[in-house]
């Protein structure tokens, strides 16, 4: 018996999210309108979409941020929306040029706080030389929306065809930095544990200066790029393996998780692989350049690791699955599970 209402699972980035987008959106649009001629959109369901104009690719990304709390260690919703949407362009291999912000704010919200949010958003754009060319500003009556919700739309350009995720056997999987930093900070805030866990801090940051140049340089060797936001690393790797039918094998011991984050999550019984990052990229690159990519990322200030590789499935059951070699050398399947609650058992 299927549930006939929207639940928070539908928005959590796991299987339920894929399903609702498939049924609610993609299934309702005729195939020829999933993209424009020469472009990509619902047909790829990637970080962003693009249209082709002459020899140029104009790339778009949009995301709505509903994060609670609005301010958290390491950033706020303004910084988040700017870096999050720019990062989606970076994952497409596009250089961001312009941004639009749609702000929805609750009546009674302090203007001072809104200014702080906008300042952070604008600073992020300015630092990356992205123009703010428009947007919208709506006020909802008190009680109709909790604080502030911001949609960001970003526009980028690329001379080469954008990166559309298509992992290949033999690819190495690279994670550019510590994972679960943002997700664990938000989880702590929501459980009112920020004071208990002073070592937590969101990693929200744009990857325009550190990751984009590397993607541009090694573009022909990069088969997929994705920022592990909602659903975390587990969701992305599962999306990649599912859509390709290949198997991804990761070595859990090589996944960079900062000690403070690991300890906090262990206390709650929450898996860092399922928590969001907001300043990390996951790349699937041809093995011959994997070390060079790691080196280039490290030169740009990132903290990259090769955490696994893509292989042909060795059995029918392994098609589209993500297998982990665990810390103790065992094997386990990483399911796409995006709903994180503290547990006692």
């Amino acid at each position: 018996m299927e549930d006939k209402i929207i639940t928070t699972l539908h928005g959590a980035g796991g299987i339920e999210s894929w399903d609702i987008i498939e049924k609610l959106i993609r299934g309702r649009v005729p195939r020829d309108l999933w993209s424009t001629p020469g472009g990509a959109g619902l047909d790829v369901l990637d970080d962003g979409s693009y249209i082709k104009i002459g020899e140029s690719y104009i790339v778009f990304a949009s995301d709505t941020y509903t994060v609670k709390p609005l301010f958290f260690p390491g950033g706020n919703i303004g910084e988040l929306v700017a870096s999050g949407v720019l990062n989606d362009l970076v994952m497409m291999g596009a250089r961001p040029v312009a941004f639009m912000d749609n702000i929805v704010v609750e009546e009674g919200f302090a203007i001072r706080e809104l200014e702080d949010i906008v300042d952070s958003m604008v600073r992020t754009l300015v630092e990356n030389n992205v123009a703010l060319i428009g947007g919208d500003f709506k006020v909802m009556p008190r009680g109709s929306v909790d604080g502030v919700v911001i949609s960001g739309f970003a526009i980028g350009v690329s001379g080469k065809p954008p990166v559309v995720d298509a992992i290949k056997p033999g690819d190495k999987i690279i994670v550019t930095n510590y994972i679960a930093e943002h997700g664990s900070t938000i989880l702590a805030a929501q459980l009112d544990m920020l004071n208990d866990a002073p070592g937590l801090k969101s990693d929200a940051k744009p990857l325009v200066k550190t990751v984009l140049p590397v993607i541009e340089e090694y573009r022909d060797y990069i088969n997929a790029a994705r920022d592990p936001t909602r659903g975390g690393l587990a969701a992305i790797l599962n999306e990649w393996s599912r859509s390709s039918g290949l198997t991804i094998i990761i070595d859990k011991g090589k996944i960079p998780v900062r000690k403070e984050v690991a300890e906090f999550l262990e206390m709650l019984g929450v898996d860092p692989l399922t928590l969001a990052s907001e300043g990390v990229a996951v790349l699937s690159v041809r093995s011959e350049v994997a070390d060079k990519v790691v080196e280039a990322l490290r030169r740009n200030g990132e903290n990259p690791y090769i955490i696994g590789e893509v292989v042909e499935p060795k059995s029918r059951e392994l098609r589209g699955r993500v297998v982990a070699l665990t810390e103790v050398g065992g094997l386990t399947i990483i399911p796409p599970q995006a709903y994180n609650l503290p547990r006692i058992c």
């Binding site: 018996m1 299927e2 549930d3 006939k4 209402i5 929207i6 639940t7 928070t8 299987i15 339920e16 399903d19 459980l191 009112d192 544990m193 198997t247 094998i249 011991g253 709650l268 898996d271 292989v311 060795k314 059995s315 059951e317 392994l318 699955r321 297998v323 982990a324 070699l325 665990t326 810390e327 103790v328 050398g329 065992g330 094997l331 386990t332 399947i333 399911p335 599970q337 609650l341 503290p342 547990r343 006692i344 058992c345």
Partner: protein, 375 residues
Amino acid sequence: MYRSRDIAVQLSERIKELSKKILAETGRDELNIMNFCGTHEWTITHYGLRSLMPPSVNLVAGPGCPVCITPGYYIDILIDASFERNTIVITYGDAFKLPGSRNKHPRSLFHAKANGGNVKVVYSFQDAVKEAVREPGKKHVFLAVGFETTMPATAIPLVSGKIPRNLYILSAYRLTPPIMRFLLEKHPEIRLDGIIAPGHVSAVIGANSWRFVAEEYGIPIVVSGFEPLDVVLSIYMILKSIEEGRPRLMNEYTRVVNPDGNTYALKAISEAYTVKDSYWRGIGSVPLSGAVHSPRYSNYDYLESMGFKETITDDKHPGCICDKVVLGLAKPTQCPLFMKACTPNNPYGPCMVSSEGTCRIWAENMPVLHGAVLK
């Protein structure tokens, strides 16, 4: 250190050698070791310990997953309560998605919340106390699921007199030695060669609580910690005891568990709670296996205060063999609904809900459980 790959590999070699020897000596095909506790199951799955075992050593999950055995009618009652004006239902994350017994929406507290019910998820009982203090005008009901380990969370504040009057407790607590005895007594058909006993339960009740397993039933039993190497070492200890022909009570988790347990906590528990026959989901009534608030604290008891009678209804979903799965009597693949009408995405029975539920674990890990190799 408790997660060293090198040690794990070596230990797994020792286990292979030992099991080979035992099988050769006894003429058996396989050895069944039951991990009683859901958290051990989590360790086994999360660290892929089954893949480190030889094919002849089966790690069988036991009835220690509270999500799987909590009666559905508790959930039914609390779903209804969540829709009452000025009532807030509070739960640990574990029980949030647990389905009730009724075959209609909303089926869980999660769905009740989505439908407008007042439900809050907390990390600890103290967070529930804080909520109740913060909203003195509202009635709060805390769903106290768990085994002996978790009972101090309410028992200590109860006996200290520190619980506000607007916070009620629905005691779904269950006791572990009684279900163990029930299992060994009523289901001799399941042949167990060893049992991994729950470490944190034992920290409260003491390792000696399990002595009867070895002495009365001749099955080696090890109180085990929850790090992956704790579990691997415990399996080694069981095999060793089989090899030596001395089935006995062992304690791998001596750093935390002593023979008599936490007598201070046990005193609080016995002051606050009274033992009684209780229902386990799908399994039935088990003698003296549950706990209600003792008369002195009965005004905090939600079922008592609201006049609910614990009438035991059959809350099995038709066709679901979760009862057998929970008791280690069947594998999920033996259920006709497994991965057909019942999937992790759309669970039908309780064992498919929690990340510790055996069916869920099998569903997600079939490729490696079946021994598929990578290279």
